[in-house]
């Protein structure tokens, strides 16, 4: 990869959820319109690598793009085994295009279908309305493995904020092991640029995969709430006081030197 493309790639990987179009426009203004294809390539590989929600207008619903549902022969196409469709993607606008409906060949079997329904039920209870999309992707090359992705996103750029939650799991049915990672990204950018990021690695054992996911995600959520409180009460409060220990504002002017005299006197200097 050229140094130029490497920089573009790093910047794209750093783009907050829901702000890719703005980052794309900025990069073209800073460099040149001639680089549109390079930037788009980076966006496409980022979308696939991190698992991203795309809208299917024909079905009026969201699906996912990831390396786990990419077509083996035609990498630019993706399968949705539940909606039973295959589609290409406009990666900049996160919209499915060239949608082929009613394709049966990747349909889930009964056990996988039940898993999907159970996950849907869990997600409906654990995430706010309509923000989360679930993907259940059997893997042809590894028949004991099922890939599970949950992507939740709430975008509100008009009020200067965007947020996302992405879970990626690898469940081995035979060994009953669940491995994966969860990543959270919140961006607030009114008169500034504030971000909250967290991630957790998952490694668990058990036969009820939905229960495992439910437990680990709830636990992570609770840990984050505890961390918020800790960061506020311990670290933030130690950085700067709200008021001086005297509980009154500073007496500016010539007399300010008295504080130092007072402190030195208190220390017996």
């Amino acid at each position: 990869m050229s140094e130029f493309k490497e920089i573009i790639n790093e910047i794209i990987n750093d783009a907050p959820p829901g702000e890719t179009q703005e980052v794309y426009a900025d990069l073209l203004k800073i460099t040149s319109e001639a680089n549109a294809d390079t930037v788009l390539e980076c966006i496409e590989s980022r979308n696939v690598k991190t698992v991203t929600r795309v809208f299917i207008p024909e079905l009026d619903q969201f699906s996912l793009v990831s390396e786990f549902n990419a077509d083996k022969d035609e990498r630019a196409k993706f399968w949705d085994p539940v909606a039973m469709c295959r589609f290409a993607v406009d990666h900049l606008h996160l919209k499915a295009v060239d949608v082929e409906l009613d394709v049966q060949e990747k349909a889930l079997n009964d056990a996988q279908g039940k898993l999907y329904e159970d996950l849907k039920k869990y997600v409906t209870g654990a995430y706010p309305n309509d923000v989360a999309t679930v993907g259940v992707f059997p893997q042809e090359e590894e028949e004991d493995v099922i890939r599970i992705c949950i992507v939740a996103e709430k975008l509100n750029p008009a009020n200067y904020w965007n947020g996302s939650w992405k879970s990626k799991y690898h469940y081995n049915v035979k060994e009953e092991t669940l491995e994966g990672e969860i990543n959270v990204y919140v961006h607030y950018f009114e008169d500034g640029n504030v971000n909250f990021q967290s991630g957790k690695e998952v490694k668990l054992q058990g036969s009820d995969v939905v229960q495992l996911i439910k437990e680990v995600e709830t636990q992570f959520e609770n840990e984050l709430m505890t961390s918020f409180t800790d960061l506020n009460e311990k670290q933030f409060k130690n950085l700067r006081r709200r008021l001086p220990i005297t509980r009154s504002k500073v007496n500016w002017g010539k007399a300010i030197g008295n504080y130092r005299l007072g402190r030195d006197a208190a220390q017996g200097l």
Partner: protein, 284 residues
Amino acid sequence: MSTENNPQDAKYDAALDLLRRLDPTKVAENLNKIIKLEPSLAEDLLSSVDTPLDVKKDPHSSQREYLCCDYNRDIDSHRSPWSNEYFPELSKEDLEESPFPSDNLRQLEIIMNDSFDVYRDLYYEGGISSVYLWDLDNDEDFAGVVLFKKGNQSSSNWDSIHVLEATSEDGGANFTYRITTTIILHLDKDEQERKMTLSGNLTRQTEKEASLNGASTMEQIHIAHITNLGTLIEDIELQMRNLLETVYFEKTRDIFHEVKNSVVDAATLHKDAQTEVIKGLQGL
């Protein structure tokens, strides 16, 4: 200047927009990346984008620490507010070109450093402060920057950057103080299998007119400026601290709950159950 007509301005605006979006913990890295993509932006970006402050030691003031930013930089050296010298030391030829405040302004700079050092002690209970001033075209006017840094290794850091301009009104009886404040606040928690970062910056602009209270001697004028600027910066920092607390600990948490919330769900379920009970009762 209209940005539509000037491609260089459009590039600069795009770079600032990009930096407002990308991970704020990597602002220095991202700044370098953008400059690699478009080297002509280097000077404008380096002088306008706030990054966490560097710390240097002044070998001519008992190794006392001071803060470094673009405003006290010349070549690759930074002027210390304690000895008024550049470190690493510059050659004699370079020093002839280096910026220094005029004698009168240096006197004000010394007292301001003293006063804000007391303020730092009272509010930050540690950390480092530095004030740098520079002359403006009109003799009575001046500009400057007031800096504070408090850190705890890498896990929490606070950088306050107040860029100020003081311009005389009504023949010098009153002054208008314009202050642009940026606070860069970084907090993180690194635990086994889990890392959490709350980080970023907020910027506010403040403008206030204040009287010099009839000050006539140089010393009185200096004291009046310090009183006006000190009071103003103290108020700004109090407001910004409240704002940071709200944004970091309420706003981001609320946004997080917009994407994942099993707690509210329990409440909703409870409410649903209640509705069912009420419906059931009504049906009786």
